[in-house]
Amino acid sequence: MDKAQIFSLDVVIAIGIFILILLSAGLIWNYSREKIAIEETRNDMEIIARNALSVLIETKGNPNNWTSYAFNESNIKSLGLADEFLEVDSTKISSLSSADYSTAKTILGILGPNYEFGLDIDIWNGTDYTANYTIGLPPNATASEVVKAERFVLLDNSWTKATMKLWKSCEDATC
């Protein structure tokens, strides 16, 4: 009696191709999951940076004279550097500059995991924008994501560039 081969060569090839397709699908799944996670984080940071900068340069803050109060979350509901729309006030900038960083971050709504911010106020000197105020923390060498939002304002009737840098500090020792 002849013996039959249950596991023929064509079945082996078919299983090989099937495994190849399955592995490719798994690879795509993993790649797209990582890409979506990175883009979601970046989108979140873009929105937070733009909102924080808009609130700072377009509003007076709540209360308007927040510089007269002790700098904490119960006294200050919202931070604003403006006297009028896009006209920022040097006293308010100085107050924010000397304020507690963590409290400022919380009031500005920068609450994401390991999110840090740096705000640069550069004034036009006739030939270039020169740094006048640096508030918060500038991105360090281990920052994994950096988002920048730039707007133009008036400070003491001079053209001024306000740049908000929102960055994510490194979460583990591998990055």
Binding site: D10, I21, S32, R42, E84, W124, V153, L154
Partner: protein
């Protein structure tokens, strides 16, 4: 003697090709998704900010009254390096009276336009229009 053969029919070949094409299409699509969702919003806001501060510090008013684009040109040239823009000032009857463009900017990519009205020359209304685009 018994000869061995492999059955690999046309429909199986087609199935493998389609699966391969779909996998490649997935990779291609995923690697080409846009990450610059806010670029147009950014240049629109910069344009609007520019017109607002130029109106508030009376640069637009002075430019119309002295018929000079020197300060407008200076402002445009101070814009970030990757950004291009031009400013045109119109009368209320839509005739252009002043125009300036950032130096070194010629070809226009996808652009945004912001418009702001202001008053000059004995309460006459003018419109400043700023078009901005990335280099």
């Amino acid at each position: 003697m018994l000869k061995k053969g492999i059955i690999f029919s046309l429909d199986a070949i087609l199935a493998v090709i389609i699966a391969g094409v779909m996998i490649l299409a997935c990779f291609f699509y995923l690697s080409h998704t846009s990450t610059n969702l806010y670029q147009n919003q950014d240049i629109y806001k910069i344009s609007l900010d520019s017109l607002t501060i130029l109106e508030k510090d009376n640069t637009l008013k002075t430019a119309v009254e002295t018929n000079s684009t020197t300060t407008l040109q200076l402002f445009l040239d101070s814009l970030p390096a990757q950004l291009c823009g031009d400013i045109t000032v119109y009368t209320s009857s839509s005739s252009a009276v002043l125009s300036a463009q950032k130096t070194g900017c010629t070809a226009k990519n996808e652009s945004t336009i912001a418009v702001r009205s202001f008053v000059a020359n004995n309460f006459n209304v003018y419109y400043a229009r700023m078009e901005a685009w990335y280099k």
